[in-house]
Symmetry: C2
């Protein structure tokens, strides 16, 4: 599924379902950071017309998801609270080259894999009977959007790099992503 080379540990969904306030907060922060990543890509590559056009739409959607989740938190009497960071995304980002043009390719493919992993986790949240139906419905609706973002990042990469170069680097980074996921300890976080 979605170029992911390993599935999330089977124990994560139980930890998540038992800690929904923490999952909701962390998810809201993930949407915020996805919006920030989109802005950063645009700021770094403002002369790349196709990238700017596609990433603005992603920015718009991540912003809408962020607003949605902050609203869901508020409905439950919860605030956004502090961002506890995302060790998974930090580890994955360590693969990004410091040199252009590989830096652009790596940034796009790391974003792509984070979206793919988020999509897999939304699938788990949407299917869990331990999670309230209204929240399951929200996660179900977000699955399609995140899958779309995953594909958009690959398509942007293939606008600027040969397809075989993109495919080979995606293989490499998805191996690393799988290793990181295998090392996770089922924390109550979107990528925990």
């Amino acid at each position: 599924m979605l170029c992911l080379k390993t599935s999330t540990n089977s124990g994560w969904i139980d930890v998540a379902a038992a800690n929904m306030p923490a999952i909701m907060r962390d998810h809201a922060h993930c949407e915020k950071k996805a919006a920030l990543n989109a802005l950063n890509l645009i700021m770094r590559y403002p002369d790349k017309t196709e990238l700017v056009r596609e990433v603005i739409t992603i920015l718009e959607e991540e912003t809408a998801h962020f607003k949605l989740m902050v609203g869901e938190l508020a409905q439950r009497g919860l605030n956004l609270g502090l961002d506890k960071g995302n060790p998974y995304a930090q580890q994955l980002s360590s693969v990004v080259s410091k040199q252009e043009p590989m830096r652009l390719l790596d940034l796009l493919l790391v974003d792509c894999l984070i979206e793919a992993r988020s999509c897999e986790r939304f699938t788990l949240l949407a299917a869990s009977e331990a999670i309230p139906p209204d929240l399951r419905g929200i996660y179900h609706s977000l699955m399609a959007s995140e899958e779309g973002h995953f594909m958009t990042f690959v398509e942007i990469a293939k606008t600027y790099f040969p397809h075989d170069v993109v495919d080979k680097r995606l293989e490499e980074i998805s191996d690393l992503e799988a290793n990181i996921v295998r090392s996770l300890t089922n924390q109550p976080a979107m990528h925990g």
Copy 2:
């Protein structure tokens, strides 16, 4: 108007109308930076529920304006291009206190004044017969939104600070803003 203590130099609108591609690009970058400012406020104050709620709506609107203007550039065969910076906003931001809680108040009031000045300049662009009617229509539609943001930033400030403290500091920062505007040399930029 809008707490601004001086009007834009009368020569600016002619320079702007004669350089619309530069104005449109600079305006798109302003919307992008307004979205980034909104995200930065949320990241700095995630435990302030009212601020987060109000600023997410601003983020959403600035993102929509950014997308609109990048689309208008594309329709004219123009890309976003490099961000040439905004000396006006940089000078104004130098007033921001390094110490909380004054830092929050200053950040909100600087954003408020930038929105107010943008609103004044949209009014000039919307009224200029030297500018194509479709663009004048867009600037007219943006006036109301930026005026709304101006007021929202003051309202957020008054949620967290005594009204007289907010009013006094807004007086001080708007004096500085007027001095900066008087020193501008009619460059082809939104705040030039």
